[in-house]
């Protein structure tokens, strides 16, 4: 039995699910099962009434599909999302054949086949849910690396050597990155994993989810971003790991929120709606949101595009200088989208004094945006990364600035490919929401907001999640991501994630001749 199976088996079942102690912000992996009674998996197992409770299935299934938690002979309904499906028929623990009564039947779950889309397939969703529950690498019956978009990351692959160098041990592989590469006096901040959380505003997202993200970032010594909804006071305990975003609406941007942050992010544009402003619907502008944003309750809040104080590259420099003077210890990040000349934008960001250029590709984003913008405006991140990396190398400044990529980073494999293309690290958003139970129904803006209780300010819907549950799901997912990243680095024979940066020689593309 491997570690993943052990973790699954140790998961409490639905009948008596103890409440774990999540009071500490720790990166320890603990089971965090779905908050729904029926987690969706690839397969469905049905136990007919002819079952005689012989417990044969409980004894042989190594995946925890069948269980009898109370020891009274009663077998609870199969946790069939853990089932590996018909491949199990080649093993000795195939419950369908082992059942003496023939009471068990196995089918492909019809709901699973309606899950997902080209980019986030049902497999990727279920794999992310598995990571969030167990904290481990997802089971092999789920494709956990690529989607089905037919291009970009989904067609790139790693050229693994036949045998990794014998002198590399998984436990010695470093996944930390340095966020300040400039030769200045600002802090040399390192994060333990090469990713941090993208901006999600209070107003668009449940405060409990935001707190979960903050606590998870704290546990993993990385960051998360406020988004442009202001800096909620409940996030202050985690301020060493929270980026203050200064966006065009300047909602909640004050001297104290700038001074509180180790990193300040100037958001020029975002991949979900490149070149367009933001819009918080009036229904989501509750009294608390309005207070945070210093606005009138119930009014629609527009974020203009772009900064109305930035007319030129000189103004951009002045903008960074402003933050730089208000907070002399902050690292500066500029978040931009991916126009055709993103390389020149990146150099401009460097010349203005930023420590991080954060390029946000067009296919990502978490919040509601016009479909026409998401699909058509600006280039996918896969193209932008190497374009920026090469240009900065040519300018001789590549080692003085971090390139952070986002907008379509779904899996650890995507992250590793982005780094191999030339990024230092990545920012994730949708993957975190999926870990919290998002099914990508896309109805974030409908009615009272997210029906899954994640992206909403509705007082009833936000009760659907707890802070501790959100925290643990994300802590678990981070752990799984790190394990998978280390596995990729190990197989490539690299001892650190920084050694992977720009190693395009390790990549191949399925649509190109060898």
């Amino acid at each position: 039995m491997n570690a993943a199976q052990a973790a699954v088996l140790s998961t409490p079942t639905e009948k008596k699910r103890p409440t774990p102690d999540y009071s500490e912000v720790s990166r320890a992996v603990r089971p965090a099962p779905s908050r729904y009674r029926n987690e969706i998996g690839k397969f469905s197992i049905h136990r007919a009434s002819t079952c005689i409770r012989c417990r044969r299935c409980v004894e042989i299934c190594p995946y925890g599909v069948h269980s009898s938690p109370d020891g009274d002979g009663l077998i609870v309904r199969p946790q069939d999302y853990r089932c590996i499906g018909f491949d199990c028929s080649n093993t000795e623990h195939y419950c369908i054949e082992a059942c003496p009564q023939g009471a068990l039947s196995l089918l492909r779950n019809p709901a699973f086949d309606t899950l997902g889309d080209c980019r986030w397939t049902g497999d990727l969703l279920a794999a992310t849910w598995a990571m969030a529950e167990t904290g481990r690498i997802p089971p092999s019956h789920l494709e956990s690396e690529i989607g089905n978009s037919g291009g970009g990351f989904d067609r790139l692959y790693f050229r693994y050597p036949d045998h990794p160098p014998a002198d590399i041990r998984r436990e010695d592989i470093s996944t930390e990155i340095l966020l300040n590469k400039r030769k200045d006096t600002r802090p040399k901040i390192k994060i333990d994993v090469p990713w941090y959380g993208g901006g999600m505003s209070f107003g668009s997202t449940n405060i409990r989810a935001l707190l979960g993200r903050s606590r998870s970032a704290t546990a993993w010594n990385t960051f998360t971003s406020t988004g442009e909804g202001g800096y909620h006071e409940r996030l202050i305990p985690y301020s060493d790991h929270i980026i203050t975003q200064v966006a065009t609406g300047l909602f909640g941007v004050r001297e104290d929120t700038i001074q509180r942050a180790p990193i300040v992010e100037l958001k020029y544009a975002q991949g979900a709606k490149p070149g367009l402003g933001g819009h918080l619907l009036g229904d989501k502008n509750t009294p608390e949101v309005a207070r945070m944003r210093e606005a009138v309750v119930g009014t629609s809040l527009f974020s203009p595009f772009p900064f109305h104080s930035v007319y030129s590259i000189e103004d951009h420099k002045k903008h960074l200088d402003w933050i730089s003077h208000v907070n002399p210890r902050a690292l500066l990040s500029a978040k931009v989208s991916t126009p055709a000349d993103i390389d020149m934008v990146a150099v401009g960001v460097y010349c203005a004094g930023a420590h991080i250029v954060h390029i946000d590709g067009s296919y990502g984003g978490t919040g509601a945006a016009p479909n026409i913008a998401k699909k058509n405006i600006a280039m996918p991140i896969e193209y932008a990364i190497n374009q920026v990396h090469r240009f900065l190398l040519g300018e001789g400044v590549r080692d003085e600035i971090n390139v952070i990529a986002s907008g379509g980073i779904r899996t650890p494999a995507d992250m590793a490919k982005a780094i191999a293309l030339g990024a230092d690290g990545v920012v994730i958003g949708t993957a975190e929401l999926v870990a919290l139970g998002c099914v990508r129904c896309g109805c974030c803006e409908s009615g009272r907001g997210c029906a899954r209780g994640i992206c909403t300010t509705d007082t009833e819907l936000l009760e659907m999640v707890t802070i501790d549950w959100c925290t643990q799901r994300l802590v678990n997912m981070y752990n799984a991501w790190r394990e998978m990243l280390i596995d990729i680095l190990y197989r490539l024979g690299l001892d650190s994630v920084t050694a992977l940066r720009g190693r395009t020689d390790l990549l191949g593309h399925l649509d190109y001749e060898e």
Binding site: G150, A340, G364, N371, N376, M379, Y512
Partner: protein, 463 residues
């Protein structure tokens, strides 16, 4: 601030319940009959009405497929007997070009007049054929204007139809030639001839009325000119049929291309110099040459007609409008005569983004047909062509309602056009014509990025 072009929209709910995508069904027996069934706590209040609907509505299946698909009830059902399914009728909608998604989004726009918005990023394929293999550019700082919330309040979407002078010349301080007549329309879209299967009931009349209401124009067959002809463009399939009398009051007429089309065009212009005479030609591999010939002969407007999927005619290996229009535009630019002619692209314009992309590829404006029919709730099922009963009874559609649906669709397209222009930092759509510098093509991005790393692609890429 001058009065701004605005398309007034108001809700026009569907007459027939639209074909939905997702529904929740019981897929197993063993319902526990819970008093507080999870379906009753649907966030959208959808299933609370289910029992009433069962009694009152004949199309129960049509109702259940209006589900938003959040899966909450499926995952909370005590017995796990609920599952989500994709409506098989949804999967049958349209064809490979007019996909079910395109049809649903068109219905939404025709009903609400709003831009389709959704959360959690883009879920479609990385790229695809035709228009799906290009992206529009954006600008981080430069905007059309600094005024207003998004800088879009001053963006102009007006285009001119007709010939412009290549330059102005003066003698004794006076211009030596008066500029030719131009028709200015506020949005770079005109309505094409209603395709034959839809020429029934009030549809043609409604299309013309809708064009008139929002200041656009509609092309109609030359033998079916209605009394109120202010916004119509009569089309003559045989150039000789065009009335040559100067009392033809239409501001613009269109002649199908033929060997003698130029002589007929000249004759019409002689009789009525202020009337714009357009030529409509099928898009073929030779269109770029034909465009140069016709322009040199003085033709003011050329409409190139592609098939319903945006592909050229008369080719064993047809190309998409995206490539053909670029070739035509490029040929005219090389000859130095591009500004002397207005190019209209038609066929395969299914979405607002297609209009913007066709203009980037070189058209001045586009003509649409099938999306207008979809706006009227058409399912593109083809039943009418097989002599079967139309499931949405298009023959009996009320003109007022039909006009509202078409106007709503154009209102949504207009706002989407503004979004794209604003993101590109372009202040007027006239400047977008042929502006490929504001776009990115799949094959270029592949070559410049992955081509450097991985060499040669296995397949032919692009359209």
């Amino acid at each position: 601030m001058p009065a701004k072009y605005h398309i007034h929209t108001e809700p026009a709910p569907p007459r027939f319940r639209p074909v939905g995508k997702l529904g929740i069904v019981d897929w197993r027996e063993d319902c526990a009959g819970c008093h507080n069934c999870v379906k009753k706590s649907c966030v959208y209040g959808f299933y609370r009405k289910e029992a009433d609907i069962l009694h009152d509505e004949p199309g129960y299946l049509d109702y259940i497929y209006q589900c938003k698909g959040c899966l909450t009830c499926v995952q909370n059902c005590t017995k796990g007997i609920l599952t989500r399914v994709v409506n098989p009728e949804y999967m049958q909608l349209g064809d490979s070009y007019y996909t079910p998604d395109i049809i649903l989004t068109t219905w939404f726009q025709a009903e609400t007049g709003k831009i389709p918005v959704s959360g959690s990023g883009y879920g479609g394929p990385f790229s695809g054929p035709g228009f799906d293999s290009m992206w529009t550019d954006m600008s981080e700082i430069v905007r059309p204007t600094r005024d207003g919330i998004h800088g879009r309040e001053y963006i102009s979407t007006s285009v001119d139809i007709g010939r412009t002078l290549p330059y102005l010349s003066f003698q004794d301080g006076q211009p030596t030639a008066s500029p030719p007549t131009l028709i200015e329309i506020p949005f770079p879209v005109i309505f094409d001839v209603v395709p034959e299967p839809w020429q029934k009931g009030a549809i043609c009349y409604s299309v013309i009325r809708a064009a008139s209401e929002i200041g656009l124009m509609a092309i109609v067959p030359g033998d079916e000119i209605p009394a109120e002809s202010g916004h119509i463009i009569p089309l003559y399939r045989n150039a000789e049929d065009a009335p040559t009398s100067a009392d033809n009051s239409a501001a613009m007429v269109m002649l199908a291309d033929s060997p003698n089309v130029v002589s007929v065009q000249k004759s019409l212009k002689e009789k009525n110099p202020d009337q714009i005479v357009a030529v409509r030609a099928p898009a073929t591999p030779k269109s770029h040459k034909r465009a140069v010939e016709l322009t040199r002969e003085g033709v003011e407007v050329i409409q190139f007609d592609f098939d319903p999927h945006g592909m050229e005619h008369e080719s064993s290996d047809p190309r998409h409008l995206r490539d053909v229009m670029r070739e035509i535009h490029g040929a005219l630019v090389r000859e130095g005569i591009r500004d002397e002619v207005t190019l209209i692209a038609s066929g395969g314009i299914a979405l607002a983004e297609h209009a913007a992309k066709a203009i980037i590829c070189g058209a001045n404006l586009v003509a649409v047909d099938i999306p207008l029919m979809v706006a009227l709730e058409c399912r593109l099922c083809g039943e009418c062509e097989r002599g079967e009963i139309c499931p949405v009874d298009l023959a009996r559609i009320e003109p007022e309602y039909a006009v509202r649906r078409i106007v709503n669709l154009m209102g949504a397209w207009y706002n989407q056009m503004l979004e794209m222009l604003g993101a590109m930092g372009i202040r007027e759509v006239r400047r977008l014509r042929g502006e490929t510098g504001r776009s990115m093509f799949f094959e270029d991005l592949e070559r410049d990025n992955f081509g450097r790393l991985f060499g040669k692609r296995k397949d032919r890429i692009g359209a």
